[in-house]
């Protein structure tokens, strides 16, 4: 029997609501990156039989075109389905301490709100062609170019 290798398996699926507007920035070489946090809710029955809600906050990062679409269409309170992988992120606090956490690197984000769709900000020029509609039935925007191999 031949030897097996361990599968590269790292997949997450989350549905939640944005806790803030997404932040879009550009890396030094011009790549777009969007960051936002989603709140996931879990409802469970406590030991005494009451229903309780428990929130979990998860950071999401999206790159390139997907990042720009997030900035364009998402805002605080919007619901999304996020598919992606877990990755580590480390940073230094102001007093120089190292911290790290895990976040989701999104491959696909589905915008779940039907109404009030484009999150058009104040600065959006009105003369441009109307933004792509983002409905529930709209296929999700996805990005897979640098995500080899699968």
């Amino acid at each position: 029997m031949s030897e097996l290798r361990l599968a590269d398996l790292n997949r997450v699926f989350m549905v939640g609501r944005l806790t803030k507007d997404p932040e879009l920035r550009q890396t030094t070489n011009g790549t777009s990156v969007a960051n936002f946090t989603i709140a996931l809710n879990r409802r469970y029955k406590s030991a005494t039989g009451e229903w309780k809600d428990e929130a979990t906050y998860v950071g999401v990062v999206a790159w390139q075109k997907l990042a720009e679409l997030c900035k364009q269409y998402l805002a605080k309170g919007r619901a999304v389905l996020v598919e992606g992988k877990l990755q580590n992120r480390s940073w230094e606090t102001e007093d120089g301490q190292k911290r790290s956490t895990i976040e989701i690197r999104a491959d696909r984000i589905e915008f779940l709100d039907r109404e009030g769709r484009p999150a058009i900000g104040a600065g959006t020029p009105g003369t441009e062609s109307s933004p792509e509609p983002v409905h529930g039935e709209e296929p999700a925007f996805s990005k897979s170019d640098d995500d080899l191999p699968f």
Binding site: L9, N10, V12, V15, L40, R42, R43, N88, L148
Partner: protein
């Protein structure tokens, strides 16, 4: 058309290896809890066309019989498949600072290692061939 509600969806699927021996402990009420850290590998081609490995480290917590089985049978380097959900964990540092981190609460942990089936090896107490939990 009926109105939809948001599904409570929080699912994680990971395969990797333990970075150290798992820590099994018991709560004051006797419930088993096992914490371990696993390293996942992502292999990708860089811009120059070379294969690169990028590890991701994830903390996992398992409870009850799963925790006990992990504590008994797994060790540093053991390959596992973990299914569960992301959960926040808060704790205080020695200096009293509050910290928050995300970990995976496992509801299904599969051992991916073939166990030597010698009688000498301490097998699982439950009669199962491979201790999937």
């Amino acid at each position: 058309m009926t109105e939809l509600k948001i599904p409570n969806l929080n699912r994680v699927l990971l395969a990797g290896r333990l970075t150290r021996d798992p820590e099994l402990r018991f709560t004051p009420s006797g419930t088993a809890v096992c914490n371990f850290s696993m390293a996942l590998n992502r292999r990708f081609k860089d811009q120059a066309g070379n294969w690169q490995d990028e590890p991701t480290f994830v903390n996992v917590v398992a409870w009850q019989s799963a925790a006990e089985n992990i504590g008994k049978h797994l060790h540093k380097g053991s390959p596992v498949l973990v299914e569960g959900r992301l959960e926040s964990r808060s704790w205080e540092t020695e200096t009293g600072q509050k910290r928050n981190s995300l970990e995976v609460r496992a509801d299904n942990v599969r051992f991916l290692e073939r166990f030597e089936s010698t009688a000498a090896a301490p097998g699982p107490e439950e009669p199962s061939e491979s201790p999937d939990i």
